[in-house]
Symmetry: C2
Subunit: 303 residues, 2 copies
C-alpha cells in the first residue's frame, strides 16, 4: 500500500493550492495524499484558478470559512492555513497518515489571525515540546541550522557547549546515511583563524569531540566560506550551520528550486517546500510554478 | 603599449611562483609583467619545481634571502612575501607600473616574521591611510564586504549609519558599470522580517536613502539567503555584504575557481587571486593548479 501523506495547503491566497492541484496526479503515483481543506474553500480556490478538481482529491477536516484574495495578507487566510496545518498534525498524531507535507504559510497573515509562531517549525516545537531541528536541502546536500530565526547579534551568544553537543547528537540520530563525515561550520570568518577572528570555534571543537565519542560518527569543522566550494562540498552530504544565512545563502545559491525543508527530531515526520507563498504570482493564469521543491518534499515524506 | 603590472609572488613555499612561471607566456600577451623577486630566490624555486625560467621574465627588487621549504610556514618566506608586496606597491606609487597583482601570502608566516597585518588589504589600508574596500568576484558577480576580518559577534555593532553611508558612496564611486541597481544585503535572517528578527535593517535603509540621494544610483535591500538564488542574482552585478561569510560563502559556492579579489578606494589599483597558498599541493609535480583566478586577476588589473 502507498504511504498516506497529509498535505496542509498553506495560505490560500498564495500558490500552495495551485501546486497541490496541478501535481495531484503526479504525487498520487507515489502516495495517497490527504488534503487538509474542505469542499467550500476548495471550490472557491478552483473557481478563481479556473482549474477543475482532480479525481480522487481526498479532503479532510472542517474549517472556518475564508474568501480568496489572491496575493493578499488576510486574517481569515492566516487562520485557515494554521487550522490546515494543525489538522495535518492531528492526522499524523492519530497515525492516520505516515507523514505530513506543508505548503507555505504567510507569517503576517498568521500574525493578523493572532497566531504568534515564527513558522511551522516553531509551532511543531511547541506542540511536541521537542527541540525540532530545521534542515533544508536536496539530494546533493542538506543543511541543518543550529540557530534559526534570531537576530544576527544574538547568534554568537547562543552558542553553548551543552546545546551544540545535544544538537549534534540529535541531528546525527535523525539522519539515515552517515557514510560521509558530517560537516560542521565554524562561526567566524576563516573559522576564527586560530582565535585571531573569534574564539567560539573552541566551543564547536569541544562539542564535536563530545558528539564523536557518543555517536561514533566523524565530524569535520570547516571554514564557512570554503565549505560550499565544489572541491569541499563533494565530500559531504550533511552540513550543520551555526546560523540561518550561513547555511541557507549558499544552499539556495546552488539548489534553490529543488530544495525542501525537513523537520527532524520530532515524533512525526514533516517535510515542506523551501519557498514562500509567492503572492506576486498567485492565481495568475500565465504563471509557471516550479514544482521541483514540492515533488521533492513529497518524496522525502514517503521515505 | 601594453600596461605594466607588478606581480608580488606571495609565499615562496606556496603555489604562487608556479602560477607565475606557468602563466607568464599567456599573461605577456596582455601586459608587461614585472615580477617582484630576485634571481637567487627565483633560481631556488625553479630548481625545486624543475621548471625553466621563461623568456623575458623581468625581475625587480632586492630581497633578504630565503630557502624553499615547500608547504611550510617559515619566518623567511613570510618576510620575502611581505617585501615582494611592498616592492610592488612602491612600483605602483612611483608610477612604474599601472597596477599590481598579488599572489597569496601565508598569514602565519607573516606573523612569524613579525608582520602583524591580517592580510594584503589591511596593509594597503595602513600604507595609504584610506579605507580600502575588499571586493571579490568575477564577471558574473562581485561582492564587496562592509566588514571583513572581524569576529561574527562584532558584526552587528559595527553597523553605523555614517560608516555604511560612506562605504556605499565610496564603493559606488569605485565601480565602472552601474547599469543595474546595486544589491545591499540585510544583516538579519529574512532582512529582519519587519523588525521581528532584528532591527539593523533600519540603519541599512537609511544609509541606502542617503547614498541614493548623493550618488543618484539605485540600491536594493535584499534578503540575504534569497539574494544569490538564480532568479534574483541575475538582476545584479554588484552585491554589498554586511559581513565576510554572508557574501563569500555564496560567491565561492558559485564561482570559486574564477573569482578574484580587488582592492577598491585606493590611489593604486590592486587585484589578487581569491585562493590561498595551497601548501598541500605546492611544489608537487603531479599538481594541477587552476589558473582561472590568476588570469582573471591579471585581466582586471589591466582594465
Amino acid at each position: 500500500m502507498l504511504p498516506s501523506i497529509a498535505i496542509s495547503l498553506g495560505d490560500i491566497n498564495g500558490i500552495g493550492i495551485q501546486l497541490a492541484l496541478q501535481n495531484h496526479k503526479k504525487i498520487s503515483k507515489v502516495c495517497n495524499p490527504i488534503y487538509c481543506i474542505d469542499k467550500t474553500i476548495l471550490n472557491k480556490a478552483t473557481d478563481n484558478l479556473n482549474i477543475s478538481i482532480p479525481k480522487n482529491f481526498i479532503l479532510s477536516g472542517k474549517y472556518k470559512q475564508t474568501s480568496i484574495h489572491p496575493g493578499k495578507v488576510k486574517k481569515d487566510s492566516g487562520q485557515f492555513s494554521y487550522d490546515s496545518f494543525l489538522h495535518a498534525i492531528s492526522l499524523a498524531q492519530e497515525k492516520k497518515v505516515d507523514a505530513i507535507c506543508t505548503l507555505p504559510i504567510n507569517k503576517e497573515s498568521w500574525s493578523k489571525a493572532g497566531i504568534h509562531y515564527v513558522g511551522h517549525t516553531d509551532m511543531l516545537r511547541d506542540i511536541f515540546k521537542k527541540n525540532a531541528i530545521m534542515m533544508l536541502g536536496c539530494q546533493e546536500m542538506f543543511v541543518a541550522l543550529y540557530t534559526e530565526h534570531i537576530p544576527l547579534k544574538k547568534v554568537a551568544s547562543s552558542l553553548s557547549l551543552k546545546k551544540l553537543t545535544k544538537f549534534l547528537i540529535d541531528f546525527t540520530a535523525s539522519i539515515d546515511s552517515k557514510k560521509e563525515p558530517i560537516a560542521v561550520l565554524g562561526l567566524n570568518p576563516h573559522a576564527g583563524d586560530n582565535g585571531v577572528l573569534g574564539d567560539e570555534e573552541n566551543i564547536i571543537k569541544k562539542a564535536i569531540n563530545k558528539a564523536q565519542k557518543l555517536t561514533g560518527e566523524t565530524y569535520h569543522l570547516l571554514v564557512p566560506d570554503i565549505a560550499f566550494t565544489p572541491h569541499v562540498r563533494k565530500n559531504y552530504k550533511y552540513f550543520c550551520a551555526m546560523y540561518h544565512d550561513q547555511g541557507l545563502a549558499p544552499l539556495k545559491a546552488l539548489y534553490f528550486e529543488e530544495s525542501i525543508n525537513v523537520s527532524l527530531n520530532l515524533p512525526i515526520k514533516r517535510t515542506s517546500v523551501d519557498h514562500g507563498t509567492a503572492f506576486d504570482i498567485a492565481y495568475k493564469k500565465e504563471n509557471i510554478i516550479s514544482n521541483k521543491s514540492y515533488i521533492n518534499a513529497i518524496k522525502e515524506a514517503i521515505k
